[in-house]
Every structure is written in C-alpha cells, then in structure tokens.
Symmetry: D3
C-alpha cells in the first residue's frame, strides 16, 4: 500500500455549538485539526497508508492529538515532542450573510519552535509515495522554511512526489515574505494546489478578469494562471478550487486541474454548507488520491471535487467519506436520497 506523508501543524479547534457567537457560548465543541492532518485523515479513509509528521508538546492534550490521528488510521510514528504549547484556534460558525470567524492562537506553538534536527526526513520518507505540505507550514516559524526545504529535498531523493496547497495565511506572514519563501520551495513541487486568492498573494500570478469578493470567477483566468505556474516552477500538475460564496450557507464549488498543457474542469456543485473549514484540504486529499492511484486528469478533478463536496456537508474539519461514497457522487447521484 502506498504511503502519503503530511507535515504541518495540528491545532485544537474550539467552536461554540450550533450558530452561537463566542459571546453566547458556555461550551466549545472541540477537535484536533490542521491542513495536512486533514489531508492524511481523508486519504486514510480512502484506503491509503498515511503518516502525519508534526511537533507536539508533552502533555495530556498532545496525547489527545495522537489518539485522534490514530482513531482515523493515520500513523503517528514520526511525531516529535517538545516546545511550550499546542496551537489552537477559535471558530465561530457563520450562516447566511454572517461570515465564519477564525481567531488563531497558534503563536509559540511547539511546531513554530521546531528546529531542523527535530526531523530525520530520510527515515520519515523511506518508501513514501508522496509528501504533502501546505503553504502554512513554512510560515509557522523561523526554521520552518529550512525544514520544508530539507523535507522536499529528501522527497526528491526518495522519489516521492511533493504536493503543496498554497494556502496563504495573512496572520502568519506578509505576502512579501510568503513570496520569498514559497517561490523557492515551488521549484520542488510536483502538484501545486491553490484557491482563488492564493496564486496571486503567494506567487504573484493573478487571474486577469476575476473578482473574488464580488463572486466573479472567470474560468479562463484559472487556466492562464495555472499555465504560468506550471511554466515558472515546472509543476507537473496545477489545480485550483473555484468557490463562489453566495453566502456563508450556500456556495458554488468546482475545480480545475491543469496537466500537460490542458485544463480539466469539474462540474459545479451547489453546496448547502454544514462546516466550511477543511474544504480545501479535502480537495487536496482527493486530488492526491487520484494522482497516486493514476486516475485520468478529468476523473481526478471530478473525484477531488466530489470528495470535497461531501466534506462541506460534514461536521468538523475532517472529510470522513469513503471511496464508495465519493464514487457514488462523482458518478452522478447527488440526489442525497436516503441510503438504506
């Protein structure tokens, strides 16, 4: 069985139940999540072997992180321990015109204090098929760009593919610093994934006619941007998710995969959203699965979009959909009829 390795931060998510605002909460629903952990859990549910690499403090809450990964079948053999704290984020779930709100408390987290010696990438990537790292990871701390470089280089040595979801986070770094770091790393990325804002902010390659805030998304733009990225960094595959936010409750959702000079567009779904967070990660997982399993490009993007479509209808950050469930949707049954 092929192994996919994810590397990044895992945080405690704290969210008021239902659609309550922070000020109304007497309790927080919790789970443990992070861009790469989300990808690993999703791939594990699809049937791949996965390992999630991170750095955690040494306490009972970090034990909960590990138990969570294990529960969903994700390997934890290469997690390193140390540092001061587990990062967390507060999430207020939006609805209709009221947007979801995320307040990060991830500064000083164990992984942000990681050093290059914490990870032995040759051991970790032994036999791996793919290494996935989001654009959040190199932004987390001082040594993280170097650690990512180490990881990417080791992946190359072990003939593992490298996938990267650009995932720009303005709280973690400036566009300038992001560009500096990411443009260097991009040269080692085989599968580059982004949403409608990332490419511009991180790589400085902007769609020409689209206006994300206004909900104007021009498919041609995406092809152009993907083609530029593929050209500039030699990425074998470039994919973009294309979200039209009608409101916090209703979104349109599709994606494009650019491969070998050609753009493949998925169908577009209208999503009635249960939990928006982790939507992009579930797309990445779907795409990685499809590529690792050798799907044709059109089927790959269809699969990835169907997978993430189901994620948006699931509570919390993980996509728990199975291959069968994703295939059923991809193959046309979006009717949501009761399965008995």
């Amino acid at each position: 069985m092929k192994t996919v390795v994810g590397f990044g931060e895992i945080m405690l998510r704290l969210s008021p139940p239902g659609y309550h605002r922070f000020l109304q909460a007497n309790s927080f629903d919790i789970n443990f999540t992070g861009a790469e952990a989300n990808v690993c859990v999703s791939l594990s549910r699809m049937g791949l072997k996965t390992e999630c690499v991170t750095k955690l403090p040494l306490n009972d809450i970090a034990d909960c992180v590990i138990a969570t990964l294990r529960k969903f079948g994700v390997g934890t053999a290469h997690i390193t321990h140390g540092g001061d704290r587990l990062g967390s984020y507060y999430l207020e779930r939006g609805a209709s015109q009221r947007p979801s709100k995320v307040i990060y408390d991830r500064k000083y987290s164990a992984i942000s204090q990681a050093v290059r010696e914490d990870f032995n990438w040759d051991t970790i990537l032994e036999g791996a098929a793919l290494l996935h790292v989001s654009g959040i990871t190199p932004a987390l701390g001082e040594e993280l760009p170097a650690i990512c470089r180490d990881a990417f280089a080791a992946a190359k040595r072990h003939r593992a593919l490298v996938s990267c979801d650009l995932n720009y986070r303005k709280n973690l770094w400036t566009p300038q610093r992001a560009k500096e770091v990411m443009t260097e790393l991009a040269g080692m990325v085989d599968i580059m994934i982004g949403n409608e804002e990332d490419a511009e902010k991180v790589l400085g390659i902007a769609p020409k006619h689209s206006d994300v805030i206004k909900g104007v998304l021009d498919p041609a733009d995406y092809e152009q941007v993907a083609s530029e990225i593929a050209g500039a960094y030699g990425c074998g595959a470039v994919a973009f998710t294309m979200r039209t936010s009608l409101s916090a409750s209703d979104n349109l959702w599709k994606a494009m995969l650019y491969k070998d000079g050609k753009a493949y567009f998925s169908k577009e779904y209208r999503l009635h959203i249960v939990d928006r967070v982790g939507g992009g990660d579930s797309f990445s997982a779907g795409l990685i699965y499809a590529i690792v399993e050798g799907y044709e490009p059109q089927r790959a993007v269809d699969f990835a979009v169907a997978a993430s479509c189901l994620k948006h209808a699931t509570e919390l950050d993980f996509n728990l959909s199975t291959l069968e469930e994703i295939a059923a949707l991809m193959d046309g049954d979006g009717s949501g009829r009761v399965q008995r």
Copy 2:
C-alpha cells in the same frame, strides 16, 4: 370516534446529533419508530383513535416503546410480548450532496419471530374503521405474510378499510419474494400508497418515462401506474408521493391520488429538510385521515401532502402536526411566518 389500527414493527432509532457522522458520535439521539407507529401517532395528533399492534420483547426498553406510544395518544392494548430483542436502526443524517444513511439491525426482532397465534384479529379489529399495514411488515419474518393475510381478512369481516404503503425494503426481501407476497395481499387493499420506486419493485408496474435517480418525474406516468394498479387489484384509491431530491437538504414534494378513474395532483412544495425519515408515513396518515373523514379527492391529496410537508420540517420520525396546522398550510399559508 373512529379507530385506525396499525400493524408493524417498532424500532429504536439511534442517530448521531446534528450532522455528525457515526465515527464522530459520543452519543445517539434516540426515539422509537416504525412505519405504522408513525401513521398512528400522526392520526392520533389529528384527533382519531388509534391502536398500534406489534410484538415486543419483555424488558425495560420495550416499556419505553409503550410509553412513547401512550405519550402521543396511541393505544397499546393489543401489543403482544415475547421474542428476543427490539429491532433498531442507526441513522446518519445527510445534508447537501451527502445522503442520509440507514443501517438496520432488525434481524431476529420480536416481531420477526411472531406467529399467527400471537394476534387475535377479530378482537383487535372490533369496531375499527381502517387497518394500516406497510409493505415492510410481511417482509419481516416467515409467518408475517400469513399474519398479514389473517389481519386483512379480519378487516374485511369487520368492514374496516385496508390501507397499504408498499414501502419496498431491499434488505428484507428480494423483489421476487416481495412480488409473490404483495401481489396476493394487494387484492385485499382498498387504499394503495407508494412512492416513485415501489410500484415497479413490488408490483412490477413501472412508470414509463420517469427516472428517479436523475430526478425526472413525469406526472402522466403516475396516472398510468395508478390506473394499472387499481385495475389489477381493485383498489378504490391509489396514491403516489412524488419526491424530487435536489439534495439531502432540499426536495420538491407533491403527490397524486387516483380515484374513480381520475388523477388528482397536489401542488408542489419546496422542502428545506429537517428530518426526512417518516416523510412517507406522514403522507399515509394524512391520506387515511382524509379518506376516513370523507374529504373530496382533491382536498384529500392536498391535505396529505401538506401534512407530510410539515413532517419534513420536524425532528425525528413522527409528524406531530395538528389539524389546524395542516389546514393552515393547505389553505395557502406556506410563508412560515411566526405564529404568536
């Protein structure tokens, strides 16, 4: 006051709260439900006298079943006891493109082990206006077809109407066995109810142009199928619900009642679904009420659809709507404005 008798299985329903998947649950919301019990509860809320006949094991959980029926005004005088266990089912509530999922654990239930001697139908149906049995009941166990036959025959003797919701369940029997049993029973049914798939699977009478999965439903088809059923089995009334599943969250919903050679179509509602399960049963209850109370066919189907429309906006399997609430919707106020 007229009495309606329902006969069938009552199960424990176990469902994760909200839109959580099974894997995410630390608790299950519970209730006790079954096709005929759902019909009885709904009729009792509308003001009819009802008796629910079933077989239950002898333990505290069976006591909960009886307490639940009593709570909603349903008679429990003819419930018989014995057998090994109460059947149950697990329900994962779907949303958007993610379908609801039902996992049955009803094998070996008390009622599946019932024998003809368990029920004295002449006593049970004394003075009844109508007997309702879904197509699930004869599929539950070996002697159940014979028990149903006994019940239907007794109903005839007591001049009670017999209504039957076809309700094909592929986990319980094969289409072949279903046809064998149901075509025999159908000859004793006065009011035959089905949804878009049942007629074909159970009675072998298919709509000509509709494609349920693709959401293509041709009204003319329904008239044709109903007319064939009425002809073949001498049913005085044949009704079909017509659901267009846009997604697990949004459905279109209407129905047709075929009576005296004529088809009556209700208006179509767009449903934003709270709980989909029990939707068909609430239609049956509405139709039974309307027929027992002598409504004109058009009003009957309008009433039944309005009733079930409210059910879809209610938690759990029971339709708790009152006559006034149904009438208000049927008579045109679907605005959902706050009632003070």
Copy 3:
C-alpha cells in the same frame, strides 16, 4: 458618549433545542429578551451607552435578567422592583413550511402591574439622546399608556428623540384599543418604525396593493403609508421593514426610510434564517444608531438592514454584531467568506 434609553418588558424565552417541537423537548434553551432590551443590547455592541428601564420581581430569576443586560453592556440603574412574576414566552422554532410558534405567558408580569410612581423619568432621561419604546409597552397593562406618556413628555423636556416600533401584538390588545392609545402617543414620536402589518392595524393606515400573507409587497405602498404617517403625526422619520417570507427558513428582507418627503430603499437580502426572533428590533437598533450618529438617510437604512440581516443569522434574540461587521456587509461583502 450618547445614551439611548429603552423602556419595556423583558421576558424569559424558553425554546426546545434545534427544530424540536414542544412535545419533544426534555430541556429548553433560555435567554432573557424583550423588544427594547434587544435594541439596547444591539446599540451597546455598536458602541453607544444604553440604559434599559423595566420592572422586575425580586427573585433570583430577575437577577439573571440584570446579569444578562450587564453582560452585554446595558445599564440597569433605573430598573425598578416589585410585582409578582417575570413574564415568559415559549418559542418553537419553525423551518421550511412549518412556522415558528410563540406562546406567551406574560400576563400578571411585574411590568404589567407597574404604576406611574415606579419611574422618575426626569432622572432617567437626564442627558439621554433618545428614548426607545415599542408599541408593546403601552399594551402591557392598565397604567402603561400613562407611563409611556410620562416618558415621552420627559424625553421632549430633555430634548431626547423618541423612537417607536409599532409592533402590534394581537394577544395584548384589540386593534381598536391599540389605535386609541397609539394615535395619541404617535404625536410625540420622532422616529416611527413598523413592519408590513403594523401601520394598518395600529394607525389604520394601510398599504394599497400589498398582500402580506401572499408575499406581495409593493414598494410604492410603503412610501404612501410613510408619507401619511409623517403627515398625520409629524414624525421626522418613518421606516418600514419589508419581509417576504418564502418559508420559515428563507426570507427576503429589505427596508425603506422615509425622511423629508423622500423614500430611501435599501438593497434586498436573501436570508437563510438561524433565528427569526428579534429581527425587527435589530433593524430599529441599526436605524437608531444611524440617526443618532447622523448618517445620511440612504446610509442609515442600508446600515439598519445590514445590521438586522446579521441578526437573522445569529442564535437567540440579540444582535451581537459590531460596527465593523455591519459595515463590512453594508459595504458589499455578503459572501459570508471565512474571516481569519
């Protein structure tokens, strides 16, 4: 900082969790709310100083009312104590075609037993910028019309504006009695607010072409009604909210502000509703804020509608939106995208 004073009843709201009906509840979600308290909380969140004036019994539950107001920054210095009980209301949350249902238990409440001596309006309104009273308050008890008259007169003496949301409640009084009382009070009102039914029922001024139940709302009608009210009672500003109830789950929502002979219409939002109750109050709060802060009429009505739009997407009766959140929506971002 300018102070706004609200005067009216605060009740305990009791509602089954989620979309459960009363019959299904084992617990009630609670909060403390009332038309004017809702306005005060919203204004306090926007940054104004507020005082909520009411009469409460002397017990631990009344302490909860005071703690709630304090929590959200509303002053409680002029609350008077006495009387038998705190009023309450039961709320069953609707969905789709099933309407929300309110059952009041507010009779014999402390405030309904209030007498003129309970409130020293000159002290209360010292330095106030505005006094807000809904049309519910004078309907609560025998001396309430006189108490409102005292309050309005004192407001005039202290050069505070008077705003009034007509808010007709058929359980509290007849249209005839409402007209009798309100037409007298209306002469002292500077800012008159109403929804699509109030003007006709309370002031006898009807829209000509609109049919609320059928969802037919003609904007021209609103201008005409507002102009008549402004003329008849000398109100400097008249505002109407215009709700099209597609269902209990989905509404269209906009408003009109009539000022200096001109009608200003907001844009219309499509709301996916989390909690409908308090929607009107959040509009009043938005409008009061805008007027007190000297917004231009168009901006005022845009702000008020944006504010109440966010309220509909928030649990419970209070609008907890901040200035920044309202401004973001008003200025065009209704996409509901995650705010990180």
Copy 4:
C-alpha cells in the same frame, strides 16, 4: 384494577443542568410535575390505575402536561381546561452545604382560578378506591378549599378512601389560614401523611423534643403527634417521614406509620441524593399502594420508605420504580450491585 384519583396542580419545572446555579444556566432541564401527579405516576408504575385531575390552560404547553401523564400511564380524562397559564417553578439543585432552591411562579395558574363547577366529582370518583389530595391544593386559590370539600365528600359517597399529605407551603398561605382550612378537611381524611414540620404548622400539633433544623429527631415525638392527630380527626392511619438532612447530598430517611394505636417504624436508609424533589410524594404513593393492596402496617411502611428511597436516587420528580425494584430493596438488597 383499583383506581386512585389525584387532584392538584401540575407545574412546569425549570432547572439548570447539573449543579449549576441560575446565573450560570443557558438552558433549563424541564419536566411537568405536582404533588398528586407524582403520586399518580408512581402508582401507575406500580400497576394501579390512576387518574390525575387538574385544570390546565388551552395551549401547546398544556398538551405537554397531558402527554407526560399519558406517557407514564396516568389517566387524563377528567382534566378541565381554561384559565390563563400553567404554573411553573424554578429549581436550583443543591449539593453539600448548599441547599436546593425553589422559586415558584404559580400565581394566577389555571387551577388557582378554578371554580366548583369545573369538576363533577361524582363522575370522577365513580369506582375509585382512593382520592389523594395534598395540602397544597386547598391553598392554591379562593375556591379550592370548597372544591376539596366537594371532592372529599364525593369520595365518602363513593366509599373511596381519602389520603392527604399535609405538605405545608408558606408561600401559598399563612399557618393561620392553613389551620383554618385543613383542620376542617382533616375530619374527612382516612390516611394523613406529613413530614417533620407539617403537623405543627398545619394542625398545630408539635413534636415535643425534636429540632428539625438541628437534625434532632426523636421517634417518640412522632408517635405522640400521630396519636393526637388520629384522635382529633379520626384518621385511620397517620404516617410521618423522618428526614435527617446531613447535607443537600446526604440524608438519613425513615418513616413511621401509626395505625390502630400502634406505631410502626421502618428501617433507616442513608441516601446519596440524586434529586430530592418528589421524595415525599413517592412515600405517599408507596403508602397508598400498600394500604390499597392490604399490606400489614409494618410491611406498608417498609414498602413506602423503600419506594421513596429509590426516588431520591432518580432524576426529576417522578418515582419510576416498579414493584419488583421496590420489593428487592425492601427485602434487603440495598447493595446497589449491578442488575444484569
């Protein structure tokens, strides 16, 4: 099967979850309860036929009351409707040295507004074995003493026993008024039940050496008081519960039954309390059951104390224990070992 009729108020109980104080609650656990309803539910669980007579308003919340009684097998055929509201009470559950706190909101309830014409006692008591009324009922409203007199007199006509739990409530009337009313009614009572404070406050007959607050309870006192009551009012049986409150969490609990000139004492249990409310009512139910079923006095008081012992270990006001469960405890197994 023998029928026991209870007459009194049923209220909505509202309590913060767990050991939270009112100020900490975001929700209230609810149930519907009253002294006589509690007795009826308990008797119904033991296997007797019961009818609960009360007056309820006409609304959805009153429907919940009826559904609750029905759920537990209590008849509701003689409930009358009308009046303004359902009474309620707020309960804060105590622990250790912190006492439970009850805040009543029962004024103006439907039953407090009842008139003699509301109840036809000859119909109600047709065939009844016993009528149970607590000392709360005559305290509820102006006509209630007369209604109780009517009921007691009809019981005599129908040869039904009359049982009364003195249950003095200082919020409802003064000791003086209580004495006035209760001393008259006492002459018609066959089974008089009280706790350690009632006899003195209601009938003016005080224990000589006990000090309730200090937890000093002298058994001899109880015999003396019971003997005086039996003598003064001709009650065939007089029973006292004897509670030593070590704290809100731990109590000692026993009782005495005085019959034919002799006092029978139960054993004493040490209770670790789950829910203290309804403890006295469960004793009354146990005693009524034992007397109606003809138990010997010693067995009767043992049964009643064992029954109420189980109640204290059960959530909410109802004692849901079955005959078997009570017998197991009475016959010596207080070990609380798991029953498989």
Copy 5:
C-alpha cells in the same frame, strides 16, 4: 515491547445521560466495550502493545468499533468480519440504593456466530506474551468453547501466558454448562481471576463464610478458594477482587493475589463511584501488566487494585489511567488533591 492479545466480544453500550432512567432518556451516551477490549485499552495506556481479536459485522458501526480501539492504541489486525450484527447492551446507571441495570442485546451477534476457521491462532499469537480471555467468551455461541480451546492451545505452543477472568454471566449460560466448559479450559489457564461470586458458580468452589449480598466478606475464604483452584487446575496465580457494595454510589474495594502458596492482600479503598462497569476488567489489566512486567506479588496486587480504583472514578468502561497515575495512588497519595 511485549504484546498482550485479548479475545472476546465488543459491544455498543447505550446509556441514558447522568442518572436518568431508560424511560426518561431522549439520548444515549455511547461507547464500544467488552471485557477483553477493556483489558487491552488499559494495557495499551500503561504502555504495552495489545491486539484485540473479535468478529464484527461489515458496516459503519463496526468501523466505529475499530476506530475506538485504534484511538486507544489497541491493534485491530486480526479482527475478522462477517455475521449479522454488533451486540449491544443498555445500561442505566444506579445511585445510592438504586442499582445499575444492564439489559443485554447481544444474541445473534457476529462473534456468537463465529466458527473455528475464523481465527488463525498461530498467526495471531506469534510473539505474544499473554492471551487474555474472559469467561464470557466461551459462553457466547456454540463454537466458542472450541475456539477458546484452539486459542489456549496455540498460546501454549507460543509460550504465551493465558489469563482468564471467570466473569460468570447468567444470561449466557447455566452454571452447569459453564462448569462443563470452564473446568476444561481452566486447566490451560496460568492466571485465574474472579470476583466474589464467580468461583462458586463457574468452578463450584465456594467461599465458606462469606455472604456477598449481605456484604459479609471473609478474607480467609478467599485464600481457601484460591488455593483449591490453584491445586485443581495448576494455575500459577489466582486473584480475587473483593467488593463490598455499600450502595451503588459507595463501595469498598480490595483484592487478593494467591501465588506460590501464599495470599497477598491489597489495602482496601473506599470508592465513590463514577462508573462501575469495567471495574473488574481494569483489575485484570493491572494484574496482567504487573505479572508481565515481573512485579513482586504484593506490588502486583497493589498495582492492580490501584489501577481499578482509578477506573471506578472514570466515565465509561475503559480505564485510561497511565502508569504514573497508578503508581502515584499505589505509593500512597489517595488524597485526590489537584495535580497542576
């Protein structure tokens, strides 16, 4: 690291929240549990490698079982699939004199339908240090005694110790059948564990002076019984837990380990019980750990009792205590002081 293998049934546990009775529940707290799974989880938390062997149906609920085991670090590599259903049990938590109540619904479970071919014991026990099977397992179905024999024999071949907790269950078999099966298996058991009732019912060896129901437990009896068992079956170690049930809330708890002709008694703890279920399994786990790790007998029994003491203060069936936590208690700190 040493591996311990457990073999037995895993069930879904369904329990009303808090101290509610079945009749009061709207939801059930859930978890997945079984005697041997409990032992494995506890050992895994202590740091051993474990594998839990069972048979599960093929559905989403069985996936939850596997995810639960994985979460707590238990291996699932040898679980076999097939059969009709997952067994379950309903648990009503007792308090004070009200006992906990268990209602089993485990008949027809997948494991009860297991056949010898389902398990390849030589593969499973490759390298195992110990095999643990409770006396429940051979009682589950027709082929289970033979399967256990296969397993025990393979353990011998692989030089793994065999431990067995007698755990008599009267619902599963008669004492006669239990004796028949267990006396044969006992000859292969190295570590025999029982509570105060098991030895007599299963092996026919009774304590001479103790009366469990009355709470009279004579330590000398235990030594005698253990010595007889060790003699008769050649068990190297025999251990008994000794529970004095003061009530469902308070127990005394100690144990004895008999080894090499000598009895070692632990100190006795007074337990205030959070969740009683799984208490015996946590003792078995503690003892197994101590023996596998080579603790001296006195330290072994002290460790096992301290471990199970902590279990009784933990929700649900699993003992989640770590080595450090158990050692702290064993070494004397039972003060329960806050650990910061």
Copy 6:
C-alpha cells in the same frame, strides 16, 4: 460603597463535561477565571464594588472575558489591551481517588508581557478600600514583580489595605525565585492568606508537625506559622485554610485567622465537592469582605469558611453565593434542606 481592586491574570478554562477524561471529550465546558477575578466576582455578589485589573489581547475572546466580568458586576474600566494571547488552562475534574488535573497554557499571555507603563495605579486605586493580588501575579512575567511593587506602593499612598493570597505555583517559578520576590512584597501586605503548603514554599516558614500529603494537619502549627509571618512582615492579619483531602470527592475544610496575637479557628465542614477549583479564592473573598466590613475576627473566619464551603458545592470557579446564603450557613443551617 467600598471598592476592592483585584489585579491578576484571567484565563479561559477548558474542561471535559462531567467526570470525563481529556481523551474522552468531544467538547469542553468553558469559563473565564483567575484568582483575583474569582475574588472580585464573589465580593461583587456580596454587595461590594469591585474592579478587576488585567491585560488582555484585542480579540473576540477577550471580549468574552470582559462580558463575563460585567455579567457578575465586576468593573472592567482599568483593563489594558495588547499582547499576543489569552492564557488558558485545561481541567480534568477528579473524583474519588482520581485527582483533578490541571494543564496550564498560560505562557506568552498578554499579562505575562505587561510592562509597568501599562497600569496607572494612582488612577486605578483612587478611592479603593483594598487591593488584592495573589502570589501568582508576580510570577507571571519579567516585569510583574515591579508592577506589583508599584501597585502595592500606590495602595499605601491611597490608604487602601493590601491583601495577598500566597498561592504558590510550581510551574511558574522556583521556590527560590518565589521567596526572593514574595519576601520583598510581603512587607507591604496587610492581610496574608495561604493554604497548607504555601507558607513554607514561598516564605520558608514551615509548620512543624503537619504532613499535608498524609493529611495530618496540626492546628497548633498554623498558629505558629502565622505568628512568625505576622512578626516578620508586619501583616495585621494572617489566615490559613486547612484542607484535609479524604479524596477528590470528599474534603474536610476549616480555617484559622490570626490577628493581634490570637488565633481564631472556624468550625470544620465536611465537603462533598462539586468543583474544587476556586475554593481558596472564595475564602479570600469572604475574609476580605469580613475585614472591609469590620467583622470581629471569629465572625470573619467563620464567614470566610462558610462562603468557601458554598463555593465547593457550586460549578465552575466563581462563588456566586449571596450574603444571605453565607449567613444562613454560618449561623448554623448546614442541613442543605430545600429553600422554597
């Protein structure tokens, strides 16, 4: 009305519901708490005016802190904003022999980054009667000792008393550093409060015969220690709480106040614990109230112990008891009988 000012950290407390361990939680109950905030809330409930001074980050979660303080009547006028994050702590509630467990995540909190310029103590303490600071505050960050010195000096200038609860926290500093800082500050303290471990660890003054872990507490020791402290630092009052931890569920609790050369001991209570955290703070609040209000020493210590006794029976960290409730317990009613 006299004002008491508290200065210290406020954190988010995250705890699994009921007695679940961290590994079992899907949600955390939350509240905002800190030693001095706890004191302020308690004093505010008793009727004093309070101000809580701290430093908070600028985000929605900090808004929740302020709303919480306001809710309970605590002033927030002098809270300063800035810094990276709100500190938090995870609490697993213990029971029986299983201790409660606290995991702090307070490093890098806003207040730990505070500088002397953040607080203008002359403004803050204008008119204050007392300043309360726990020994935690100077341990939080580099400049905190200096800030405390500033505050204490300003208190002296404004003739406000200074009270200090030693509250040693081993995670924050070493005993050596604690002694260094605290012995300097102690010279400015008027009321010194400690528990059984603090005096030794912080001031190096040890009880001679007591052994806290073993639960051996010798009253004479406390007098000696208090006398030494009073002598060394000139504290007018020295108080010690004396807890005997029988288990996490049951404690004995009393205290001593040393004043003018004499020791006053309270009675001892046996506590059945609901929530242990904040117990010491509630004693401090009680003592401060008593001293500020001029109670005699014996009454002061009785009041403080009664207050904290009620806290232990209350959920979460705040003592919400009123003067009346505390007086009732102090004056002898510890029976926990229902208050109606």
